[in-house]
């Protein structure tokens, strides 16, 4: 079957209904990726406005907008820019376009459908934060994004938007398109920097390697997500007040979310922050329109593969970071994956455990060894070869990655109270814990599916092969 969506050139994207659009407003045009269309729809006007003001002024405007990072951590971008140490130059901008969290896709669409909006956002960030070179790191498995962004960069250079003395001012910056080569962990900002330096993509220890202080080539570096930067042209053009008028006080603006799995109309939607509940998203007419015909919701992952799972009990929680956190999960990168009553829960969890085990970079032992252990154990349980000792072993391995209480959702059926996010971890980055999160959620919320699966009794594995002579001969 062909791809679905409001427009054939933006597979999976829907903009029906009456929602304000900040970053997807041009997706309706087939030529949205061209400079001609960008110019015809107010493009680069935000940059012109910004260049008429001082960099500090523009930085203040962005800080006042409370624009939150859209990569997963949700940290305010304007505050992040302010963390660079005084008087240390040069400073760099690294754009994180290595989108690969399971369930997530928004950055790919933003790069394919509106590359100039991203470029304008990069320029505004560089101007405001004094960043003198920009590296746009795009996931290798997205050649269409590479092609569109490369063309957009060429056109923007030719029109004087990038390079020396931009639009006749003192502002000069290059934007360099960089190709990734396939590694999930590179989405972590310090691993991204390692990769950009030509190294294996392994995360650095924080502290001391906070990118804003010691980043690319040891210099102060701002790492921002594609969607975050794509919001800047709107803020520069319309002001922070227009931006904060949309959404909630703590999470203004909109965000792009992808809802996939067993719903009637899976799709990518730009929603106003705080305006919807998960029930609206999964069942609303302008969103997913309910579950597949004849089936009921069993559970869903609310924030990308690394997020603890929710049950139908949690449908009325608003799609908002704090609410999701106190209910035992997180919104992460804006990806909801929906499972109906036909889903084999251990098998579904296995797909994610396998993913994170596979993507471990191997730097931290609990992740490298523990992730693989979890994968092997869950795989044998799913295959029907699990034993009654396996469930305890999973928890033991999990404990070595995430010591202490793991967050999980409340369940009326099981009489469970919610344990709020986050968790403790023994690894540098979130890949390790992410291998445990899905299997922990699945075992906590659906214990009976695992107990039914492990029908074999564990046997001692230290049975001697043969009698050992004592005392030699």
């Amino acid at each position: 079957m062909t791809a679905q969506g409001s427009y054939p050139w933006a597979a999976g994207f829907y903009d029906d209904g009456d929602r304000p659009q900040i970053v997807t407003s041009r997706f309706r045009y087939e030529d949205s990726h061209t400079l001609e269309r960008y110019h015809a729809t107010g493009g680069y006007e935000g940059l012109r406005r910004a260049l008429e003001r001082t960099p500090d002024d523009v930085h203040t405007e962005v800080r006042n907008s409370t624009l939150l990072g859209r990569g997963g951590a949700g940290f305010p971008a304007g505050v992040k820019w302010g963390f660079t140490p005084q008087g240390v130059w040069p400073r760099y901008l690294v754009v994180n376009g290595d989108e690969s969290e399971p369930g997530t896709y928004k950055d790919r669409l933003l790069m394919e459908c509106d590359p100039h909006q991203l470029i304008e956002g990069c320029l505004i960030a560089c101007y405001a934060a004094g960043l003198s070179r920009c590296f746009l790191y795009i996931r290798g498995e997205m050649p269409l994004a590479h092609e569109r962004v490369a063309k957009a960069l060429d056109d923007a250079y030719a029109h004087g938007y990038i390079g020396t003395n931009i639009l006749g001012t003192d502002f000069s910056v290059d934007i360099v398109l960089h190709w990734g080569a396939g590694a999930y962990v590179v989405g972590e900002e310090t691993a991204l920097i390692e990769s950009l330096e030509g190294e294996r993509g392994m995360p650095r220890l924080k502290p001391p390697y906070f990118p804003a202080a010691i980043g690319l080539y040891g210099q102060p570096t701002i790492v921002n997500n594609v969607e975050t930067l794509s919001n800047l042209p709107f803020i520069a053009l319309n002001g922070s007040a227009a931006y904060t008028a949309i959404g909630t006080e703590t999470s203004p603006g909109t965000r792009m979310i992808a809802v996939s799995g067993h719903v009637k109309r899976p799709g990518v939607y730009e929603i106003v922050n705080g305006s919807t509940t998960f029930r609206d998203l999964l069942y609303g007419d302008e969103f997913c329109q309910g579950m597949r015909e004849g089936h009921e919701l069993k559970c869903f992952v609310p924030g990308g593969g690394s997020a603890p799972w929710f049950l139908p009990d949690q449908l009325d929680i608003p799609f908002e970071g704090r609410a999701a956190g106190s209910a035992g999960s997180m919104l992460g990168s804006g990806a909801v994956m929906v499972m109906d009553d036909t889903t084999d829960i251990p098998a579904a969890a296995l797909t994610l455990v396998k993913f994170y085990a596979h993507e471990s970079c191997g730097k931290c032992v609990p992740c490298r060894e523990g992730g693989t252990w979890l994968y092997r154990i869950v795989e044998r349980i799913v295959a029907g070869n699990g034993t009654d000792a396996d469930l305890a072993t999973i928890r033991e391995v999990g404990e070595s990655i995430c010591p202490g209480n793991m967050p999980h959702a409340a369940s009326e059926r099981l009489g469970l109270e919610a344990v709020p996010f986050p968790y403790k971890m023994t690894t540098i980055c979130f890949v390790g814990p992410s291998a445990y999160v899905p299997i922990h959620s699945a075992m906590t919320l659906f214990p009976e599916e695992f107990e039914a699966r492990v029908t074999k009794r564990a046997v001692r594995t230290t049975i001697p092969v043969a009698a050992v002579p004592v005392g030699g001969d």
């Binding site: 079957m1 969290e101 990518v268 499972m339 993913f355």
Partner: protein
């Protein structure tokens, strides 16, 4: 012949010049070599090492970390079938079984004619259009078994040559920074002071 061609050396030098430190060009240059040869050869890694002043072992050390680099001959078409959660929920397993049967190879291997390599893959960022696959990283959405068969027929007949370049080609166009507009890459220790447009009061105590 698997060192970079003269034409590609020219492209490589242009890429190296964009980075304040040469080693940053390692991944782009290994991509370039894979585009030329279809996979990453030992000679190509030696050549890349020369171009960025590192050892061949450092090139291999970095390149071997990344999934997209292949170190053995690979089909002209690399078919990656996604098996992560959203695709798995929508029948990725069945699609893979069908693909293996249709191509007569197991995932991870190449057809006898050397044309198609089949692989398991992880999330391809098209989760609402599941199950998905990529041919040389070009997406195909909501793929049914019949559509898979049609795809294979089309690839074999060369009907998709315009749309899908041979394995290794990342983008059909690449960024060109015009010399008269480029700011240029300066090694960080040769930069002193704030850039011209930044108000200087920040540098004062």
């Amino acid at each position: 012949m698997s060192r970079l061609t003269d034409q590609n050396v020219a492209i490589a030098r242009e890429i190296v010049a964009r980075y304040p430190k040469k080693k940053s060009a390692l991944i782009p240059l290994v991509h370039l070599s894979q585009q030329q040869n279809g996979y990453v050869t030992e000679d190509a890694m030696r050549h890349v090492a020369e171009l960025i002043d590192v050892t061949p072992a450092e090139v291999y050390g970095t390149a071997s970390f990344y999934e997209m680099f292949r170190f053995e001959p690979t089909g002209k078409y690399l078919i990656n079938i996604c098996g992560t959660m959203s695709c798995a929920l929508m029948g990725a397993d069945d699609l893979m079984h069908h693909a293996e049967a249709r191509l007569g190879v197991k995932a991870g291997s190449t057809t006898d004619d050397g044309l198609i390599t089949l692989q398991h893959a992880e999330c391809q960022a098209a989760c609402t259009e599941a199950p998905t696959l990529q041919v040389n990283y070009r997406h195909r959405f909501r793929v049914t078994p019949t559509e898979f068969d049609d795809l294979v027929d089309d690839l074999r007949a060369g009907r998709l040559d315009d749309e899908i370049p041979p394995h290794g080609t990342l983008g059909r166009n690449r960024q060109r920074i015009p010399a008269d507009r480029a700011v240029g890459a300066v090694p960080p220790d040769e930069v002193d002071g704030a850039p011209a447009w930044v108000t200087i009061q920040e540098d004062q105590p």
